[in-house]
């Protein structure tokens, strides 16, 4: 009976975690989408005006254009390309969900961030409850991973190894497979999907899993690449298990 309630708890936790992320994504999207659209239009207009008047622009107007451009960029709007850009939004559901994930995991890339006051306040409260939720969730995932290690330990014990040696070996195994699965292999994967070099991939993997999350490298953000549909989901799963692995490492 105890095992059943334990499994139920875990299931509830997993469900609750994803529901939390989904709700957050929807709210962020609702709050940020319109503001983004307005800024895009403003930037496109600015570009148009600039092009039309270019030959008669004074140095001061050029200054102003540069300033406006920089401001647009700071707001995450890149006025490259033509009108088709309006269809794709930074705040479509998939991006908002990913954003919600970066908030509760405290990675916080920053390539996408709320610009409306409402979005920012919501973000604060979303994180206030989401971060503990995320930590508890990671604990559970970590427990699953450590079960694997315990099984290995048991197997070795039955083979007659001493306890100290077992501990050392399982730790080593845990470390080595973790590095392989969470750092080395994904970097190779990113080489193919993102066109980064291997060292850039490792850098990205480390910065992400340590939750530093500078945001200088982010998955799925190259404008001239095609990503297969479940790419982001795969990356999210990698981040989840990678974070749990690192959390376990710190507890060992």
């Amino acid at each position: 009976k105890a095992m059943f309630s334990g499994k139920l708890q875990t299931a509830l936790l997993v469900a609750g975690y994803f529901v939390y992320l989904l709700v957050g994504a929807a709210v962020f999207q609702a709050l940020e989408r319109t503001a983004e659209k307005q800024e895009k239009m403003a930037a496109a207009q600015m570009k148009e005006v600039f092009l039309r008047n270019f030959t008669q622009l004074t140095a001061a107007e050029m200054e102003q254009f540069m300033k406006n451009l920089i401001e647009a960029i700071q707001n995450g709007v890149y006025p490259v390309g033509n009108e088709s850009q309006f269809e794709e939004s930074n705040w479509d559901f998939s991006n908002s969900f990913f954003f919600a994930g970066t908030v509760v995991s405290t990675i916080g890339y920053g390539t996408l961030h709320p610009k409306t006051a409402g979005g920012q306040i919501f973000c604060v409260f979303f994180a206030l409850f989401g971060i503990p939720l995320n930590i508890v969730f990671l604990h559970r995932v970590g427990k699953m991973l450590s079960l694997l290690c315990k099984k290995l330990g048991k197997f070795l014990y039955e083979k007659g190894m001493r306890k100290k040696k077992i501990k050392f070996l399982t730790l080593l195994f845990f470390l080595a497979t973790g590095i392989l699965v969470f750092l080395c292999l994904p970097s190779v994967f990113f080489q193919i999907t993102e066109g980064w070099s291997y060292s850039e991939g490792i850098y990205f993997a480390f910065i992400t899993l340590s939750t530093i999350g500078f945001g200088d490298y982010v998955v799925g953000k190259q404008p001239d690449r095609k990503y297969f549909s479940y790419y982001r989901v795969l990356v999210a799963i990698w981040i989840l298990f990678g974070l749990a692995w690192i959390a376990l490492l710190f507890n060992l």
Binding site: K47, M62, G108, Q120, I135, T211, G215
Partner: protein, 245 residues
């Protein structure tokens, strides 16, 4: 001793990063100036594609931390103070990202630096958190002795500590920020929380406005605030986790 090691570690990282990143930064800024600004000045028949390329160039430069101001580019991001702040953002895992290493060596160093720096940071935060808890418990015991309240004192003190922490770390700093950075109160509050929770988007970063002058004590006080604020917030979150589990 721990504190000294922590500060020393940060200082070391800052120096190394500065040495690694500054030359590259200067080079990139010169490149941007040369290629794009002068191109624009000389060619009077700028067509669509050329404008496109100019904008893309500016975007790329912006992402690597260089902005165009007048005829010069705003440099000095990797000066010592900037590098020190970067080191803090790395080992606290805040990771603003407004400044990030662009040289390969800088990145490798960053990884190694963080690999040892993050545990160091966690240990220090833990220590600070324990000290805070001890202080609170001490106060509770004192109150119990003086007023003979028993259980009520503990609860009262804990809520008091929470409120004081809230004021000190989340509610009062935005006032400082709106004075020094020109942000609204709400933006300052948002920045405070995003920083102390180590999410660190980087959309707001203190001391980055080129049109403002900051007093010399500003960045140091902020660093202290980040340290103690993070320890406090970590305690609060631990408490929330206890409730959840």
């Amino acid at each position: 001793v721990l504190l000294a090691a922590y500060v020393g570690y940060l200082g070391l990282g800052a120096a190394v990063l500065q040495a690694l990143e500054r030359p590259a930064e200067v080079q990139a800024a010169e490149h941007l100036l040369r290629e794009h600004w002068e191109l624009l000045a000389n060619h009077t028949c700028l067509q669509g594609p050329a404008l496109q390329r100019l904008i893309e160039g500016i975007i790329r430069a912006y992402k690597s931390g260089i902005t165009l101001q007048g005829n010069t580019t705003s440099l000095g991001r990797w000066d010592y103070s900037g590098s020190f702040f970067f080191s803090i953002s790395a080992i606290t895992t805040i990771g603003y990202g407004n400044l990030s290493p662009s040289t390969a060596v800088g990145r490798i160093f960053c990884i190694v630096f963080a690999l040892f720096g993050i545990p160091l940071n966690l240990v220090l935060l833990n220590e600070i958190g324990q000290l805070m808890l001890l202080g609170v418990q001490h106060c509770a015991r004192r109150l119990e002795e003086v007023f003979h309240w028993q259980n009520k004192a503990s609860f009262l003190i804990k809520t008091c500590a929470l409120v004081i922490g809230l004021l000190l770390f989340l509610l009062l700093p935005p006032l400082l920020f709106s004075d020094k950075e020109g942000w609204s109160y709400e933006e300052g509050f948002y920045y405070s929380f995003i920083t102390l929770s180590t999410i660190g988007f980087g959309d707001y970063v203190i001391g980055m406005n080129p049109d403002r002058t900051y007093p010399s004590w500003y960045k140091n006080v902020i660093s202290l605030w980040i340290l103690f604020g993070m320890a406090w917030l970590a305690l609060v979150i631990k408490f929330c986790i206890h409730l959840l589990e």
